[in-house]
Amino acid sequence: MSENTQRLVPTPGQTIGPFYGYALPYENGENLVDRSHPGSVRLHGTVYDGHGVPVPDSMLEIWQADENGKVSQETGSLIRDGYTFTGFGRVAVDNEGQYTFTTVNPGPTEAGKAPFICLTVFARGLLNRLFTRIYLPEDTEALANDPLLSGLSEDERATLVATREADGSLRFDVHLQGDGETVFLAYPGLE
């Protein structure tokens, strides 16, 4: 542990603003694996505002374990070599607020845990980033035992569990506000 007993006050966040598009997104940012990878999965959806209108200037980041539930600490997310799974992805939504990542289904990081993908949301007009989780829908028993999900109403819970589509892809929409508002998360040490 650190010698400091007094916690330092965190620096405030600010909006990503409108002009990140030439600075933060990068080539293959949204491709954690290649589409040809045997276990590749499309994770996609739309970001909506409080009127249900797509948000065209949002940036999303995901962070996840690999198919076996292993947390990668490999470098190379910014310049991908096509083989190394780094677990991190970044994408700017398109003009219709839609995004697509190509990734794998994360395995449970511990036996019996419900696997999920961490999602961070940034947008013009959003004054600080938002955290949430994208749960895989399959392991219903693990989902039922999940400490976060089991404390939510049915409607709230539904905002965190992705839909598995017929083609195997995962659909996860983000509602910043209003009907079906996504449950966003706060962690200890974080206001």
């Binding site: 620096t11 409108p18 002009f19 030439y22 409080g50 962070w63 470098t75 190379g76």
Partner: protein, 271 residues
Amino acid sequence: MAAENPEDAFEPLTAKGADDAADSQDQLNNEMAQITKQYEESGRTETQPRLDYAPYRSSILRHPTKDPRHTDPETIELYAPAFGERDVHKLESDLTIQDGGEPIGERIRITGRILDGDGRPVRNQLVEIWQANAAGRYIHKRDQHPAPIDPNFTGVGRCLTGDDGSYSFVTIKPGPYPWKNHQNAWRPAHVHFSLFGTDFTQRMITQMYFPGDPLFALDPIYQSIVDPKARERLVADYDHNVSEHEWLLGYKWDIVLSGSNRTWTEDDSNV
């Protein structure tokens, strides 16, 4: 890369449209003063921006109305992606040498340390910045502010922190720029910073400002951090020890991320 549609970005004054900002700065100032008054009366201490801050018009439909759900981080959330020299070249921290010629403006260095809430340095982690040029213009294609583009300046930089959590960028001091939030709205000069910690839950994006900017009181993005002490944490210090003889002016800005929730062993701390 996806195109963007920042309708609150500056557009030429000739392109008047239905969405034109009608509110005056006085109107904005009144709204901001009202919120300040309520905050002072509340007796609370806030350290982060309000997500619901109506003077920043674009936040009105883009803030969650429910409080965030408190949860304990699970394994994946206790780690952050790793970045290394494969990802970032050393020269990317000098924004003045990226496009051949010398960019125009005041050459500066911005340096400081990134710590977690317990004062531990955040080591070997990615820092990304982006900013307007000396005239207040971004390279971004939707930035229509009629100020000159500098062909020798992209305004984008990256670096990895050192073992002591330090980062350093050489760049040009950005200019203030107009935007469409209200009539005669100007952003104080700022540099956007994107930061990772040791835990993914420490991920943050913010803006660094320069000391003494006359636009602070007028800017709803800066003022969305309603606590004066908290927002001053975004203002760098001029540091003459960082300045270099006949070369550049130095600014010092330390960044504190939220506390790590990992159980740190002696081993981890020495990685």
